[in-house]
Amino acid sequence: MTSPTAITPAVLDLPALVRLVEGPGHGAVVAFLGLVRDHNVGRRVTHLVYEAYDALALKALDRIVHEAADKWPSVRMAVHHRTGRLEIGEASVAIVTASAHRADAFSASRYAIERIKQIVPIWKHEFFEGGDAWIEGATADPDNVEARDHAMRIACA
């Protein structure tokens, strides 16, 4: 049984997420995949290892789904994030949204990925030609209203 949110070492199953959120009243499904890229800030990336604080990361994903539901009540959303070693081209995150009309599904999808980068305790360990580095982005604070508003502005642009 597919859950709407997951932190998992398993390969992400996009069709299963689409089946989970689609319904007869939904005229639009937006599927977003984040993939491991072969370059970053001038470095030739060989692979990534994702580390998560699983228990809190899952709660943070659930929080994002609830935030999106507050803003777009008709949108159904599923978000799965992968952990462990990922090769170039593999999907690290899958976000699938469904709504009656396309605008809300696109907005909710964009909101979710922006919020993931802000508040979900997951870290990329980047391995590249000549070394490795922990990637550090946002200081996670779910109660930071400015960050949330920023994500919302991007989603609604």
Partner: protein, 81 residues
Amino acid sequence: MRVTVRLFARLRDLAGAGELSREVPPESTVDAVWALLVRDYPAFEAYRQSLSCAVNAEYARFHTTIADGDEVAFLPPVSGG
């Protein structure tokens, strides 16, 4: 009282362990646990301003009071997606 400390990403590398145990006085805060870690791992000092923390897998603040048996986690800036 005794708490479990969880460390992630760069902090885990610096400490050489993802899970530690520490003894702290009753009614201690997250900050008191952090102070113990900085004493053991001086390289941690530079991270304080950019860290988040969690108690029992819920986001918390450094002034949050902790209890015996709690799990206290220190989280470098996140980079999922």
